[in-house]
């Protein structure tokens, strides 16, 4: 009986596939490819500046640490102790404390690669042939861990233990929660609420465990406030004014990681900074989809409305208008839903969504 049902399921479960949809998705692919090209070029430009700058900062930091170690100096007043830049020292790795002030990449002795967001803080608690243990207390870190047979690699993130072998994953601490997403391989995540194994493509969010401060930068804090404190390097103008492409790319990444609140904020930032950009209508349309996914129907409707207003003859205008009508209906605003549906039927009398609009009007 189940076999018959499966056959029916296979036969009936086909997506709607028409030229309009095919074209819309293809345009989305083109846009995605274009954005990644722009981002790649921007990264190349950033690296060209950042690498010499990083070397200079590291050299200054080493010089300062050597001076501190020999002279037992204390940090000058007025410097922000939280803005510590990690420096290569002669201390054992386990004692090194690193607080990322700017986005940076680090390569460990075994070839494992860590990419830190600007706010990321990492403390290397143990680095031996049998065990590597890092404590991440803030921000987002992308880990690409080299597989070493017999070696345990553990990231402790505010009460959440992520144990890996060879894999690629991200730990993000934000707004009171720890998120782990796995790109390749498998990790085991343990929190006070239990343990779970995640595979490629899996994501998990769990509240920060306030009862387990030992895994946080508890030991790092005194060091950060100590004599090696440094003011954070000033942000460049480019970093404080991301381009429309960079914001779109960031919003896409945030959507992919499931952080819809951040994606919505990024898209709003884009619309605020670049209201005249040719991609603004598409950004607003995407914002509508994000808000809809967050069950914020009224906000979604407004975003779809803005999208249509920005480009009433654009490639997403028809969809934006239809989605606006549906979203207003979901937001229990039948008058606004009806107005949008009426406008749709006038503008697109034989459009893809004509049936849905008719149902709203009825």
């Amino acid at each position: 009986m189940l076999d018959d049902l499966i056959e029916s399921f296979r036969r009936r479960m086909e997506p709607r596939w028409d030229p309009l949809r095919e074209r819309r998705i293809r345009l989305g692919v083109e846009r995605g490819l274009e954005q990644r090209t722009v981002l790649r070029n921007a990264r190349r430009r950033t690296l060209a500046v950042a690498i010499p700058l990083s070397l200079s900062v590291a050299a200054l930091a080493v010089a300062y640490v050597v001076g501190v170690n020999s002279g037992n100096r204390t940090a000058p007043k007025g410097q922000d102790p939280a803005r510590t830049v990690a420096a290569a020292t002669n201390q054992p790795a386990a004692k090194q404390t690193a607080t990322a002030a700017v986005e940076e990449s680090r390569v460990m002795a075994d070839g494992s690669r860590l990419e830190l967001s600007r706010s990321a803080k990492i403390d290397v608690r143990n680095e031996s042939p049998k065990r590597v243990e890092l404590a991440q207390s803030e921000g987002r870190v992308h880990y690409q861990v080299t597989h070493v047979p017999g070696r345990t690699f553990v990231v402790a993130a505010r009460g959440v233990q992520v144990q890996v072998k060879g894999t690629v994953f991200v730990v993000d601490i934000e707004s009171g929660k720890v998120s782990v997403s796995v790109e390749e391989g498998r990790v085991r995540v343990a929190a006070s609420s239990g343990e779970v194994e995640l595979g490629a493509g899996d994501e998990l969010s769990t509240p920060v465990d306030q009862e387990m401060p030992a895994d946080t930068a508890g030991e790092a804090a005194p060091a950060a406030a100590g004599p090696t404190a440094r003011p954070r390097a000033p942000r460049s103008e480019a970093a404080s004014s991301p381009s429309a492409s960079a914001l779109l790319e960031r919003a896409d990444a945030e959507r992919r990681s499931g952080d819809l609140a951040a994606a919505a904020a990024t898209l709003r930032e884009l619309l605020g900074r670049y209201p005249g950009d040719r991609r603004a209508a598409l950004a607003s349309f995407t914002l509508g989809k994000v808000e809809r996914a967050r069950d914020r129907a009224a906000e979604a409707a407004k975003a779809f409305q803005t999208s249509f207003s920005l480009a009433p003859d654009g490639s997403v205008a028809e969809d934006a208008l239809a989605e606006e009508a549906v979203a207003w209906a979901a937001a229990n605003n039948p008058a606004a839903a009806r107005a949008a549906a009426e406008l749709y039927t006038r503008r697109f009398p034989v459009g893809t969504h004509a049936g849905r609009m008719q149902r709203i009007l009825e």
Binding site: L2, F9, E14, I25, V29, G185, G201, R256
Partner: protein, 184 residues
Amino acid sequence: MHVPRPGPGQAPVDDLDLVERLRRHDADAYRLLYARHARYLAGVVFRLLGSDQELEDVLQESFVDAVEGIDTLEQAARLRPWLVTIAVRKVNRVLLARRRRKKLATGFALVAPRSQHATQEMSVDELRRALDALDPELRVPWVLGRIEQLELSEIARACSVSIATAKRRIAAAEQCIRRWFDAR
């Protein structure tokens, strides 16, 4: 209307040429890739998701990742299953996010059937509901195996698990689904 779908091992021979063109960054190659595989992939993703929602996002991101990562494809002849693997990873994210949003219990057995009509005839919609209640790590291999009829090795690769684990998960999913219908 049901459109016959070639299996993952039956990708057109000229995919080899297509992969070569993609690797040379031929400007038209990605359009050909899309034209050749989008319809098939849309069907797989649709049946994995169980709905139309987020289908377009998953497809777009899958094709962008495929074009960007074409150099990581080891066997050009396996282009189509490779595309399925990329899409499955994205579908997993969507299903997990969807599951978190709905705050469903993690165990299938803990989720009660929604319909109150015990005599309701078995239907495709009912199977969809059963799949919605299933944990994504069981749901995805089951759909790939029983609906898409992929080979076990392809399912294992797409789900990043061993063949034994894929087999075990399909069996577990089947058991859950049968239990679902038995409870009707």
